[in-house]
């Protein structure tokens, strides 16, 4: 019986069945749409000659030489031994800076969103508006004063500076996302836990957090990707030691000896692997994520 009931009481509409014919149609359209990504990945596996061929080559013998070249190049002087390009370090920087920034933002943001959701202040909406506005601002106008400030206190180009900046960058996002999850959670459970003698810390850590694990994970992963992709802040605030991958890529485009497309494509391909994985995992939270938690459904 429950099968039948769920058929009629389900909130989401029963979509019209379209069958394999539609799969074919949608598949072709979507592949065309996806093609730019595919082309880059293909380019990453091409030899230099294949990558620059006219007319373009669609079938070729894949090579991994570009991927090797991402990390090592042959020294011009000396015995021609392989020396590091530093790209490995940039990948490390991207991972490190994104995780640390997001971790910080998530702790502060989750607490704040709990406050906004459960203990609304006078002018709660105004605070939330200010929080969101800091995220909606063109990054360029935020970065000018921060650039000057960092230069004054000597945080320019340091890990701490970049991590702090990314924590602040992800904070509004974390607050709005997590608030949207908290708002969906019935406070009855928390009140009942309080009645049963649970402390406030117990309520938060033992009642709320376990229920919001999925939401927390979605927020974290989303924030990591946003940071992973971020360019302008990194461009202006990182030094050679703390440079992230997007900045390194942009520099490769502006290279002096013409653009090494195969190499660039290989960097991008590596750079995109986590993005693909995350997009797939987050599919159900994508709408909430891209609208900063302002639209749930």
């Amino acid at each position: 019986m429950s099968v039948l009931l769920s058929l009629f009481s389900k909130k989401e509409r029963r979509l019209r069945e379209a069958g394999w014919g539609w799969t074919l149609f949608a598949g072709i359209i979507s592949l065309i749409y996806f093609f730019p990504v595919l082309w880059i990945i293909m380019t990453a596996f091409k030899t230099r000659a294949d990558a620059l061929a006219t007319p373009p080559v669609f079938f070729f013998t894949p090579t991994l030489e570009n991927f090797v070249a991402v990390f090592y190049r042959v020294a011009q002087t000396g015995g021609g031994e392989a020396i590091s390009t530093g790209m490995g370090g940039f990948f490390f920087n991207s991972i490190f800076v994104a995780s640390a920034g997001v971790f910080l933002a998530l702790i502060i943001g989750t607490l704040a969103s709990y406050g906004f959701s459960r203990y609304p202040l006078k002018g709660n909406d105004t605070y939330l508006f200010v929080v969101l506005t800091t995220r909606m601002l063109p990054p360029i106008i935020v970065i000018i004063p921060i650039f000057l400030m960092f230069r004054m206190v000597g945080l320019s180009g340091s890990y701490i500076g970049v991590i702090l900046l990314y924590a602040a960058f992800n904070l509004p996002f974390s607050i709005w996302m997590m608030k949207s999850f908290f708002d969906e959670l019935s406070p009855d459970v928390e009140d009942s836990a309080r009645m049963d003698g649970s402390s406030e810390f117990g309520v938060f850590f033992k009642m709320c957090i376990p229920q919001l694990k999925a939401g927390l994970a979605a927020t974290a992963v989303f924030a990591v990707i946003l940071t992973w992709n971020e360019f302008l802040f990194a461009l202006l605030l990182t030094s050679t030691d703390t440079r992230t991958v997007p900045v390194a890529m942009a520099r490769t485009i502006g290279g002096e000896i013409g653009v090494e497309w195969g190499l660039l494509a290989a960097i991008i391909t590596l750079f995109l692997v986590p993005v693909f994985a995350v997009t797939y995992l987050l599919q159900n939270h994508l709408l909430r994520g891209v609208t900063f938690g302002t639209i749930k459904k």
Binding site: M1, S2, V3, L4, L5, L7, F8
Partner: protein, 362 residues
């Protein structure tokens, strides 16, 4: 003629048989209620009549015409949905006029019909409001008005009153009944509320697990339930169904062994065809008992276990050898918990069900 005929209607969802072999015949001007617990297939049956669900097997005929292969819009039917299905972006007046657009009527004609139906259902004051700003009762009336504004082959109602509160439900029951009486269309109403079915229907079809258990007038459903399911489902408080053994029959009186007591009860003469010693189920409604001061051959005794005042009447739960017997008495009757009382079933009020669960009658 506005009629609905359904023969051997069957619906399968994957492995699940939702509706199986349903036969119904609704005459013009007749109101048939499909009544049953949730998940019994009554809504699916209605949706197949409307054409919103395809049929796995069987035939649906509306106004004498086979409509199985015809889409809902071509069946010329009007339907009231459980959630009213008012178009949220249209005003009440536009909602009411919506079904008329298909007929390409002139706007003046539409306006005329809208104001007429609005008057009938007391909606004149809210004609220019959007559905979002209506009270629940008003939404319900709009849904009904939108159905009756045109002249369809038949009316279908899917749980029309389930979203209203008790008071509104009572007034709407009467109002819908009144409106339907004046329309002489075949009407099918789906409900899980027996009171709704008993008050609005000309005939009731009780459904369980996709099958029809009994189709009869409200009176007959109540007084002559065909089997244990119908007997137990119809009536509040529910009929007392007690396991018993038939020990003898003489001149309209059956003797039964019930919970270690021997009781003589007036029963249908068909009971004499049962073998002595047969296991049966005795069905007696809580209001069919009289409390008697002294024990006799035809009384059953039990101990008062729980007293539930219901206003004008009092519901008494009695216990005897682990069987619960419910009796409704006038509120003037005072009993105390733990008291032992004797009760007698009124003549012709006892039903005997055989081991298959069917009522024994002639």
């Amino acid at each position: 003629m506005s009629t609905i005929q359904v023969t051997n209607l069957t619906k399968r969802f994957g492995d699940m048989l939702a509706v199986s072999g349903v036969d119904l015949d609704v005459a013009a001007g007749e109101v048939l209620c499909l009544l049953g617990p949730s998940g019994c297939g009554k809504t699916t049956t209605l949706r197949m009549i409307a054409g919103l669900e395809t049929t796995t097997d069987g035939e649906v005929r509306i106004a004498g015409k086979r409509v199985n292969e015809i889409s809902p819009s071509e069946r010329d039917i009007a339907m009231v949905f459980q959630f009213y299905a008012l178009y949220p972006s249209l005003t009440v007046a536009e909602n009411l006029g919506f079904p008329l657009h298909h007929d390409k009527l002139p706007q003046s004609e539409i306006d005329h019909l809208v104001s007429e139906v609005a008057r009938k259902l007391a909606l004149t004051d809210v004609l220019h409001r959007l559905p979002g700003y209506l009270a629940e009762g008003e939404k319900q009336r709009v849904a009904v008005a939108r159905a009756i504004i045109r002249d369809p082959n038949c009316f279908l109602f899917d749980e029309p009153l389930s979203r209203l509160d008790v008071e509104l439900r009572q007034t709407m029951r009467g109002q819908i009944k009144e409106i339907l009486d004046g329309l002489s269309k075949a009407t099918v109403i789906v409900t899980h509320d027996q009171l709704e079915a008993l008050t609005m229907a000309d005939r009731i079809a009780v459904m369980r697990d996709g099958k029809i258990e009994q189709v009869a007038s409200p009176h007959d459903i109540f007084t002559k339930p065909k089997n244990l399911f119908v007997a137990g489902f119809i009536g509040t408080p529910a009929m007392n169904l007690q396991e018993a053994v038939l020990t003898g029959y003489e001149a309209g009186m059956g003797t039964f062994q019930v919970a270690n007591q021997t009781v003589a009860i007036a029963v249908n003469p068909a009971v004499q065809n049962l073998a002595s010693g047969a296991s049966v189920t005795l069905g007696i409604r809580p209001r069919a008992y009289d409390i008697i001061s002294e024990a006799a051959d035809d009384t059953f005794s039990a101990e008062v276990d729980l007293i539930e005042p219901m206003g004008a009447e009092t519901l008494i739960h009695m216990m005897e050898s682990d069987t619960d017997v419910r009796v409704v008495v006038d509120r003037t009757v005072h009993l105390t918990q733990g008291e032992r009382v004797h009760m007698r079933c009124r003549p012709d009020q006892a039903h005997v069900f055989n081991t298959e669960g069917n009522r024994v009658f002639s």
